[in-house]
Symmetry: none
Subunit: 209 residues, 4 copies
């Protein structure tokens, strides 16, 4: 019972922390604020986490855990390449919608001057998706489904770039506004956008049958 409560509290602390970091960025986020919004005292924050950096890493790790779990699914699907791309696009948007702060925190660490540890954490996640996508593209190549002339690694990079921008576009304020600039609020229709992305990624990567 006590354990249960603790876990719930810990969860709330991480969530409120992620929220603050996602909204304000590392520097502008305030430990006092986070404590307040999580309904605890600063002391607790420093009981569980050594310092602000450490706490940020914990929030980040917590946020990215979900992401890497999703990634693992990706491999297991037994579907055609086109379906896979489509499903991944859906997955990405779904994840973004459910974990906006995760995406925002992720974007946050792409900013300059971050702790070694935060960097490593993010790079770890990246390396997972990098491997996943590279393997996938290599498999496509093997199956003669990848366009001739295209290097699998470059394809994987291109593919992830597109997905990353998609995520940012749905969660990071700046990119969201930018998306509207391009698509207007008319096309603020996820299905249309996904279909379009599908078409372009298909054309970019896959051999015409």
């Amino acid at each position: 019972m006590l354990q249960k409560l603790k876990e719930e509290k810990l969860r709330e602390i991480l969530e409120k922390g992620s929220k603050e970091f996602a909204e304000k960025g590392f520097e502008r986020a305030s430990m006092k604020n986070i404590a307040k919004s999580a309904g605890i005292s600063v002391g607790v924050l420093y009981k569980y986490y050594e310092n602000k950096d450490d706490f940020f890493n914990a929030c980040l790790e917590d946020s990215l855990k979900v992401l890497s779990e999703k990634m693992e699914e990706f491999i297991s699907w037994e579907i055609t390449p086109r379906e896979r791309i489509e499903r991944l696009l859906h997955l990405v948007l779904e994840f973004s919608r459910e974990n906006p702060d995760a995406v925002r925190m992720y974007h946050e660490i792409t900013s300059s001057s971050f702790t070694e540890k935060a960097r490593k954490l993010a790079t770890h996640i990246e390396s997972i998706s990098a491997k996943t996508y590279r393997d996938y593209m290599a498999a496509l190549k093997e199956a003669n489904l990848l366009k001739e002339d295209i290097i699998p690694e470059a394809a994987a990079f291109f593919f992830d770039n597109c997905l990353m921008m998609l995520q940012f576009s749905y969660n990071v304020d700046y990119f969201d506004e930018r998306k509207k600039l391009y698509l207007g609020s008319v096309y603020d229709n996820d299905d249309v956008l996904i279909k379009q992305m599908m078409l372009m990624l298909d054309g970019a990567l896959l051999r015409r049958d």
Copy 2:
């Protein structure tokens, strides 16, 4: 003469400011540092600019000016669509190489919690490229060169997303490391990457002739 001197000084101030902001991010950048590296006193900084935010905006504006100038060229070229894409990819990398701080500052404002003014400034630039790319895609459509089924606005968005990631990949530390994860240092060959991007963008956007 005095005017001339001032302008040069102003130039240096903006450059040194952009450098500091690009390297350390807004919060970690220090007004004192900037003044020092520009060879002036903080007092002067505050004579020209109301506050840190205001000065950041000035640096950003200065950095992005070059970007929007380049953009205008884009429209004037009289070349085939494929050439245009290739040339743009080259242009983007060239710009990145010559103005790394511009790209980094640009990336900086994509971060959370920025001033209204900085946002507007960036949005202004974005709206220029958005219009440019949308017009271009519309023209392609008109000329029946854009792939059937593809909405020009979505194509423009997709296209700019790719270019943006390319810029970040060449200038923002985090994305640079990420690029290496995907491509390894083996493919750290700009020409190969550009050619690959070309192939994919071509396949994504343009009708098969």
Copy 3:
């Protein structure tokens, strides 16, 4: 049995407390640390003692108790004045060796800004030795053994000063290093130092026979 256990525990608490206070000084000593090293919770510490000050006083009192016991012995010895001085020097060093924390805590309260209570406690001990030494010097005077012209009270003060510095020199880091500065490690020989002190105290206080 329970009482017995408690007493042992109390003993350990006081000892570990004295150790921490002696090593780190009042401010840097941590209640949590003390509790931990005594194998209890902070709650218990605050059950027995009102606050840090109060606990410090208890530790001090405990440490100084031994000192005042030793002092009482001093009076009972039936020996010549010279023997008495020599024996006291030995006693002081012995005490210092067996109760380094007591000496260090004693030194600690000589520092500025201590509680009224701690002050009173120490003053109480001091007043015992002051009386003891003054009585002794008065007795020497009576027996015409004290040097002519010397006021017994001044002699007692002088005598205790010497003993106090001796104690500090053997227990307080700073004074230990200082001792080495004067005597070098060559004379880091207690017997020689005591003999020398003897000679000087003898010459300072006692009438030439």
Copy 4:
């Protein structure tokens, strides 16, 4: 004029700092308090000094400077050994009276857990007086004025111990009260005490002529 003002201000800062450190000890002294009592903002304190430790060292150094200057005089006097001792006793009291905070700060660092730098500073001063006194005792020995059997180093140590206790007794609250315990307020007469100390030190160290 500007320089003059600065120097005066600096002087006040160091004095107010020394006062606070002398009165409350390092830990209890508050930078905010010190700034306030010196009529400046905390920022100034941190402009001139890196941190609290650094500022403490500066205060200490400033306080001890006077002490080491006085020490140098000691060597130059051309007087008889007995006169020298007497004059030194006067000097010590005079210094104590004029620089009570210096003595208190000095006593403060004899407490546990101090910075390496503060330690070195104090040890430096100590080493000067150690050398001075040892040389002096060696010279006395040479001139056959030191008591037979007494080792000059031990004599120097003994001598400085007495002087140190004298200083503490006149400046550090605790030792001041202790002095009264021994001497009562009746003998709170410096001249008498000095004369008595003279007699005892003479008897302790010097050969009977």
